[in-house]
């Protein structure tokens, strides 16, 4: 049995192996053969294939050597504090996630690019590539710092930014990069990929399960493949009747929504708070919690209050972003929801 997860095992390594978005693949193909690269900004939802495309592109530019990477932990001095970040390095590129170091990302960004920019690449290629993951989580300062660095070290460095949402990348940075959108695959695209994998594994993928996977994964190809494998692990075959595994925390959030809808009292809110703490403690991003809860509550509450609930959710989420303790905003949202919901149901009863 293969020791790799299917997602990684069947990951396309070169541009021509890419399964969908053929127009995009064509652009990448042209880029890789041109021998030079502009700064790039890949954006698109999670599980659309951004990173895979970036690596495939680099593979096209530099050859298979980009896949030989080593992991390294680097230290940077920022005044008196030491910043530690782990980076992935090949002869041709550096792959890192500066947002790991939170508000000190600026230093990392500056230092790394300067360092690379001032050293010559041993290969005949004259530039090295820096991949910055989760670019939308970079602080404004770090993004501002990138502006200048991008221009200054063009001779030796190319930067590839990868992010989910363009809106959090500052405009000056966007204008310096070639933005490439990687949309989520369509249902048909996903079907194709899932079938391909199933047949490579000599498994039969029943239609019903396939549909379930596509629906449940929310057009996230990685999630779909992983779900498929989970089903396989649990049942030793791709059982058409198997329920599609949804993440544990999502189940838990649904439970919270049920609690809120069942009972609108301080006691109930207290219990819910305990559960929210659990979710947050396991590192589920508060925004995700907000989205999931809101969706769940809206779908399960009366049409008359749906808009109000969504508006409140948006308000509180915005508020949360400018605060420091997500829990209080989540709690405030749920308290407000309880209030709205209760008032409405009281009115309905009369």
């Amino acid at each position: 049995m293969a020791s790799k997860l299917w997602v990684d095992k069947y990951r396309p390594l070169t541009v021509d192996q890419l399964d969908y978005h053929s127009t995009l693949s064509a652009i990448l193909e042209r880029l890789s053969t041109s021998g030079d690269l502009p700064h790039l900004l890949f954006y698109g939802p999670s599980g659309a294939g951004k990173k895979t495309r970036v690596l495939a592109l680099l593979n096209g530019v530099f050859g298979a050597g980009v896949n030989k990477v080593k992991c390294e932990v680097r230290n940077f001095k920022a005044g008196t504090v030491n910043v530690e970040i782990s980076i992935l390095q090949s002869n041709y590129h550096i792959d890192m996630t500066p947002s790991d170091v939170a508000h000190r990302d600026k230093i990392v960004v500056q230092q790394i690019i300067k360092e690379i920019g001032s050293s010559k690449n041993p290969d005949q290629r004259f530039f090295k590539v820096v991949i910055l993951n989760q670019a939308d989580y970079l602080t404004d300062e770090a993004q501002a710092a990138l502006r200048r660095t991008l221009e200054k070290y063009t001779a030796t460095t190319r930067v590839i930014l990868i992010c989910n949402s363009l809106c959090r990348v500052i405009a000056p940075l966007r204008s310096r990069c070639l933005s490439i959108r990687v949309p989520a695959p369509s249902a048909d695209d996903m079907r194709k990929v899932l079938r391909k994998i199933a047949s490579s594994e000599n498994l039969e993928l029943p239609m019903s399960l396939e549909n379930k996977l596509i629906n449940a994964s929310n057009r996230n190809i990685r999630r779909a493949i992983m779900m498929m494998q989970t089903v396989y692990i649990q049942n030793s075959r791709l059982n058409p009747d198997a329920s599609v595994p949804i993440p544990e925390w999502e189940k838990y959030l649904k439970e919270i929504a049920t609690n809120v809808l069942d009972e609108q009292t301080p006691k109930s809110l207290k219990i819910v708070r305990g559960k929210l703490y659990e979710v947050l403690a396991s590192c589920i991003p508060p925004t995700t919690v907000f989205n999931t809860l809101c969706k769940e509550l809206v779908t399960r509450s009366d049409a008359a209050i749906k808009t109000v609930v969504v508006r409140h959710a948006a308000d509180y989420e915005l508020q949360m972003k400018s605060g420091s303790k997500p829990i209080v905003h989540l709690e405030a949202f749920l308290a407000r929801f309880m209030s709205v919901y209760k008032q409405h149901s009281n009115r309905m009863n009369y």
Partner: protein, 789 residues
């Protein structure tokens, strides 16, 4: 007047409620003493023998005893104080006032004789404090009175108000309903009161009683005057506490000396409270020479559980006295030094105490003896006051002090407030640790009553106790307050005290703990009477913790009514808004916003809820946020370990990779036990993990980590060990391979076969090749990691 009696009918007879609960034994004794002078004298003897003279007692080792007996008689001052021990202070053994007048500082208290309370009733109403000695308990919600209000009223009549019904309770006042809406008859207090046969009073009766009492008060101005007259006439009869003071009346006119100094303890017995500790200090200083100079160390087991217990470290060269302000630390050090014939050298925070300045004079004096005018040689005692105040300016001061202590030839006493201060950590190791506690309310009030009497200020015990309480049992402060009061008045009752305290009390906020402050803010009964300033002060008790405490507890304090949910939502809103303010404060250092933070995160939610809580729970937030931080770190570590093999951000890893990889690893192990190990290790290895990371990271990061931990525990230990073993063989072989590879500088593709064997034989050829590049990477990753470690 006699009406009052009716409220305390039958039950009182057997209850003998005159004495307030806590201190009743002592007071009783006092009362008895005052009425029967004879009983007192034996008591004094007992006290003194207990105090003085452990040195003389046969128990002490003969060596010390002899030296002690030499010292003590030589000290005139010390031998004198044998006379009045604290408890009996107000009645001098030398000048005996008429016993009957004695009681008068609680002048109209019902007669203390237990057996015939009925015979006394008429004296009760004649007093300004007709309920003196009665203990009241309030239960349920009263319609016309707020609980605090009523407490004040009762106290102003001299009664004591306690929280629980006991045998000593004279009367239970109940409202119709309990706080939680049940009938008052269901309450525990009521039941207990019935059992005990305590007098039970409803609100109507209560009002009658209060009216009666008020009527009495007005009707008895004459009593009041005569009472004052008695007070004054008595004054000269009192013997001042200060033994050297000859005449109290004379001293009254002598305004040049503050009471605090005038009544400063002159002898060990005079020191209020901490008797044991003072005694310890005295013993330590007495034996100091013997122990330190002659090396006859005391045989004391100072080690408990392998660590030096500093409180038993009697052989130390220095003593460290710690305790809150105003409990008499400095005084104790001085008095003890004086009684043992030491010349005291004092250094306190007002002296500059850098290393040099400490070393020079101390080193010099620590080896010296001083000579007095008449040629006797005095021993030196160094008192380092306020050692916890040695700070930035006194650089190196503490180390210098330690150095001095190590080599000193004279005893050193260090004094500090905050024993837990980090500055004292090193110093404390060289000291005999003596901790002073605050003396309790009744101890202080007894002494102060005596002082007041000798100063001619008549004061109600209830009033005095309130003042003491408000100063946090600080004797010095209380005395100062009273002195100030005495400049303009010659008597004080409960109401005056209460009123006066608002202007002169020690900042009461400093005495409120975080939890109490939060509890108060969440209790409308408490906050209703408070000004906004007072409420915000409660927030300022701890502006970090209070908002969190409120956030944790406000949901428990919401009253049940139609507004409940709306209030809850508004309170939550306010707290959320407080979080925004907090962020502003922290990011921009905009501390001027603090009051707004208090308003939003503490006062507002408190006002919206306000039903009160028994005791605030500690905020869950701390634990949860640290778990979150830990998990974030784990995810990051996991991601950097797997970085070469996967794509996706932290959330993807957490919610997709982690559960799936975990399942993939666990499945073969659960299914095949030992036989599945190789497969599991292969997966671990493929993703650049190691068995430890599997155990820590993957299992911890499962959403339901308890379940996964349990699952992991079920795996037989042997199998777990096998995982590590198999992993190590694979890992080591690949490590070797990599080294070899580097040495030979071969083409990377050639080095595979051996590795492929380790991994798996059954693999399809194509897959194998596809994976080659990845597999090679792994050892490299490992080497780097290994080196780091």
């Amino acid at each position: 007047m006699g009406d009052i009696r009716k409220y305390f009918g039958a039950p009182i007879k057997d209850k003998e409620p005159e004495k307030p609960k806590e201190e009743s034994p002592k007071r009783k004794r006092l009362n008895k003493v005052s009425s029967k002078q004879e009983t007192k004298k034996p008591k004094i003897e007992k006290n003194t023998s207990k105090f003085f003279p452990k040195g003389q007692s046969p128990k002490a080792s003969p060596d010390y005893a002899s030296s002690a007996t030499e010292i003590i008689p030589s000290d005139e001052e010390y031998s004198r104080p044998k006379s009045p021990p604290i408890k009996t202070k107000k009645i001098s053994p030398k000048r005996e006032p008429k016993p009957k007048d004695k009681i008068d500082y609680k002048p109209k208290k019902p007669a203390p004789s237990k057996k015939k309370p009925k015979s006394e009733p008429k004296s009760i109403p004649s007093s300004s404090t007709p309920l003196q000695g009665q203990t009241f308990v309030i239960t349920g919600v009263l319609s016309n009175y707020d609980r605090n209000e009523l407490t004040d009223i009762l106290k102003s009549f001299g009664a004591k108000v306690t929280g629980n019904v006991s045998k000593r309770t004279s009367c239970l006042i109940h409202g119709d309903k309990l706080e939680d809406g049940r009938n008052f008859t269901e309450g525990n207090k009521y039941k207990t009161a019935l059992e005990n046969g305590t007098k039970i009073m409803n609100e109507e009766e209560l009002e009658h009683m209060i009216e009666d009492l008020k009527g009495n008060e007005k009707s008895s101005p004459v009593d009041q005057d005569s009472f004052n007259a008695v007070q004054v006439s008595q004054k000269p009869a009192r013997v001042p506490i200060k033994v050297s003071q000859t005449d109290a009346t004379q001293s009254l006119s002598n305004a040049s000396q503050l009471w605090v100094d005038k009544y400063k303890p002159k002898t060990i017995q005079d020191i209020l409270g901490n008797n044991k500790t003072v005694e310890k200090l005295w013993e330590w200083l007495r034996d100091w020479e013997e122990v330190v100079i002659h090396g006859n160390k005391k045989d004391v087991e100072a080690f408990s559980r392998g660590r030096l217990d500093l409180t038993l470290n009697v052989n130390a060269k220095a003593a460290l006295i710690s305790g809150p302000p105003g409990v008499g630390k400095t005084t104790a050090a001085r008095v003890v030094g004086k009684t043992l014939d030491y010349q005291i050298m004092e250094m306190n925070a007002s002296d500059f105490r850098s290393k040099k300045l400490i070393l020079d004079p101390l080193k010099a004096s620590s080896g010296n003896q001083s000579m007095t005018g008449n040629g006797t040689i005095m021993k030196n005692l160094i008192v380092m006051d306020e050692v916890d105040g040695m700070s930035a300016g006194d650089r190196g001061g503490t180390t210098a002090l330690i150095e001095v202590i190590k080599t000193t030839k004279v005893p050193i006493i260090c004094i500090c407030n905050d024993r837990q201060s980090t500055k004292l950590k090193s110093l404390a190791n060289y000291c005999y640790d003596l901790r002073f506690q605050k003396p309790n309310k009744s101890q202080i009030s007894k002494r102060l009553l005596a002082i007041m009497a000798s100063e001619g200020l008549s004061i109600e015990p209830n009033a005095l106790e309130m003042i003491i309480e408000s100063s946090g049992n600080d004797i010095r402060q209380t005395l100062t307050l009273l002195e100030m009061w005495a400049r303009t008045n010659n008597s004080m009752n409960y109401n005056q005290a209460k009123k006066g305290l608002q202007f002169i009390s020690k900042d009461s906020i400093t005495m409120v703990g975080n939890f109490d402050a939060a509890a108060k803010l969440l209790n409308n009964h408490e906050t209703r009477a408070m000004s906004h300033k007072q409420k915000i002060d409660l927030f300022f008790v701890d502006f970090d913790l209070i908002p969190l405490l409120i956030q944790e507890n406000y949901l428990s304090a919401i009253p049940q009514n139609s507004q409940t949910i709306e209030n809850m939502a508004n309170a939550a809103d306010s707290i959320a808004f407080g979080d925004l303010i907090n962020k502003q404060i922290r990011t921009n250092n905009d501390w001027t916003l603090l009051p707004q933070l208090g308003q939003a995160s503490a006062i507002e939610p408190g006002a919206l809820t306000g039903n009160g809580i028994p005791f605030p729970r500690f905020p869950e937030w701390f634990g949860k946020s640290s778990t979150q931080k830990k998990n974030e770190r784990l995810v990051q570590e996991l991601r950097s370990a797997m970085a070469g093999h996967i794509t996706g951000d932290n959330i993807t890893i957490l919610s997709e990779y982690v559960p799936l990889i975990y399942k993939m690893i666990m499945k073969p192990i659960i299914k095949h036990d030992m036989d599945g190990v190789e497969e599991a290790v292969e997966i671990i290895h493929t993703y650049g993990l190691n068995p430890d990371m599997f155990k820590d990271h993957l299992i911890q990061l499962q959403f339901d980590s308890e379940k996964s931990e349990e699952e992991f525990k079920k795996i037989p230990t042997k199998t777990k060990a096998q995982i590590t073993r198999v992993y190590n063989t694979v890992f080591k072989s690949s490590l070797k391979k990599v080294k070899k590879k580097r040495e030979e500088k071969e083409e990377k593709d050639q080095v595979d076969p051996e590795f492929a064997e380790d991994e798996n034989g059954n693999e399809e050829e194509e897959d194998e090749k596809e994976e080659e590049s990845d597999i090679e990477v792994k050892p490299t990753v490992k080497t780097v990691k290994k080196k780091k470690k």
